[in-house]
């Protein structure tokens, strides 16, 4: 979990930085737009993912950067394998290398989804 959470705040920070540059704000200026104001250092820490943004700060950041809160949030990797990897490593007594391989094999997307069921149905129709 630790890695995922860190990545989340790093991604969020990168988005804040990108949007701030687009608005031609300095870190200082962006900090002054929040209520209560935050320091330049605080914005710098948010942008590097070292500081975890509070919910109300997130809303204010989005407003200052002229995006919706949703746009500001990093995409959560839905169906990603990080959480599967994480769980496997807790539940199985295996070295990391094997856990990674197993997670890859279990979670990789495929196109082969047609079922035997459908096939037999089609055969019957003929």
């Amino acid at each position: 979990m630790a890695v995922e959470v860190e990545d989340f705040y790093k991604d969020l920070g990168l988005k804040v930085r990108a949007l701030r540059s687009r608005q031609h704000f300095t870190q200082q200026q962006l900090g002054s737009l929040l209520t209560p104001q935050v320091t330049r250092a605080s914005i710098a820490n948010i942008e590097t993912g070292k500081q975890r943004v509070l919910a109300h700060t997130l809303i204010q950041l989005a407003a200052a950067l002229r995006v919706s809160v949703e746009e500001l949030l990093p995409r959560v990797r839905a169906g990603g394998i990080a959480h599967i990897q994480e769980e496997l490593s807790h539940k199985l007594a295996l070295p990391n290398r094997q856990i990674d391989r197993l997670a890859q094999r279990l979670a990789k997307p495929t196109s082969e989804t047609r079922s035997l069921d459908e096939r037999s149905r089609r055969t019957r129709r003929r």
Partner: protein
Amino acid sequence: MSAAAARAAAERLLQRLNVNSAPVDVDSIARALGLRVVYEDLGSDVSALLVTSGPKIAIGIHKGHSKTRQRFSLAHEIGHFVLRHQFEAGEHVHVDSGRLISARSASASAGLDPKEVEANQFAAELLMPVKLIRMHASRFGEGPVLEHEVARLAREFAVSQQAMTIRLSTLGLA
């Protein structure tokens, strides 16, 4: 959901997929249900696992175990899937370390999760369908199935002798 309902679900599935001969091709059944099956080393104490999140539901089977145990493990995980078992909230991977335990034995009813009992019942019915067992056993004539006949049935259904013994006694044939 009871053990009987779990067995009925397995029977319906076999019927739907037109399975009427032994040994039951449990890999094909998994594929027919859209499940991915992966054979890998799962470490000690784990026979199989079910991944319930991600792009596709997937089953991991310990490749180091005997073929008959692998088949039972796969049938067991298919059972969890077909019976729509809900595991702990937020859990993405359900791990089974289980060895085959008779649902009738005291050790099974005491302390074993009902979901596991159901999945075992499902697996027994899937791999050793009552109709096919009766058909095969009828060759041996009247009376209880003898030991060498149990061994033969186990080979024909590609299950362990232990599993077959339990199945036959459940059906009152041994």
